[in-house]
Assembly symmetry: C2
Homo-oligomer: 99 residues x 2
DNA sequence: CATATATTCACCTCTAAAGGTGAATGTTTA
DNA sequence: TAAACATTCACCTTTAGAGGTGAATATATG
């Protein structure tokens, strides 16, 4: 989960995920197009997203097609939800005690 | 949102948040007790959580009491949910086209 | 084959986090 | 006031991400 959260902590990487979510499969070059940073930097971001299993790659000839895999986000969202539930439950218990 | 996600990307910091969610207000020393790392390291983690507004501090005499503030997590969870919805919707559209 | 395009690899700089140690500050209590 | 405790501040080392440039590799197309 650590790698997933660190991966989505960066706005460039969230933008890449948003692009893949909205438009589906896309080449590395196309994914990089909206950004002013170099292609190499985008490639590094993509590698981090792959390491977190948020992005998968399909190679066809000289083109590398990227796809979104949102599944690893589930564990992170579940953690946050459980934390909030735990916190809310404790507040409720506290109110009971305080009358 | 970046700082919040980076903050929760670390397991030590998630453990601190879990402790505060389950047990409510706690002193820095008590929060640090379960960890083998030094008090200074824990203090640094807490400072990052404060910067992300996930933790608030109340000073009483020589004791600093920490509380959880889960609210900044909402934006992060909302982003993830929207991403998944967008992705699922696109899959649906794709199925329509493919028959 | 030669050229253009796509992607990666190798290397560099800068910045910041993680962890540590030791001293300084502030607060309580005997 | 002196001693004990809690917290922070200042500084150091190691590691890693963000960004860049330029070269190497692989593929497609004239």
């Amino acid at each position: 989960m650590d790698e997933v959260l660190a991966a989505v902590a960066d706005p460039t990487r969230r933008a890449i995920l948003g692009r893949l979510a909205a438009g589906g499969e896309a080449r590395v070059t196309d994914v990089a197009k909206p950004f002013t940073i170099s292609l190499n930097s985008v490639s590094k971001h993509i590698r981090m997203l792959e390491r977190a299993r948020l992005v998968t790659r399909r190679v066809a000839g000289r083109e590398h097609f990227l796809s979104l895999n949102p599944e690893p986000l589930d564990a992170a969202v579940a953690w946050a939800s459980e934390l909030k539930e735990l916190w809310a439950w404790r507040l409720g218990e506290l109110e009971k005690v305080l009358g």
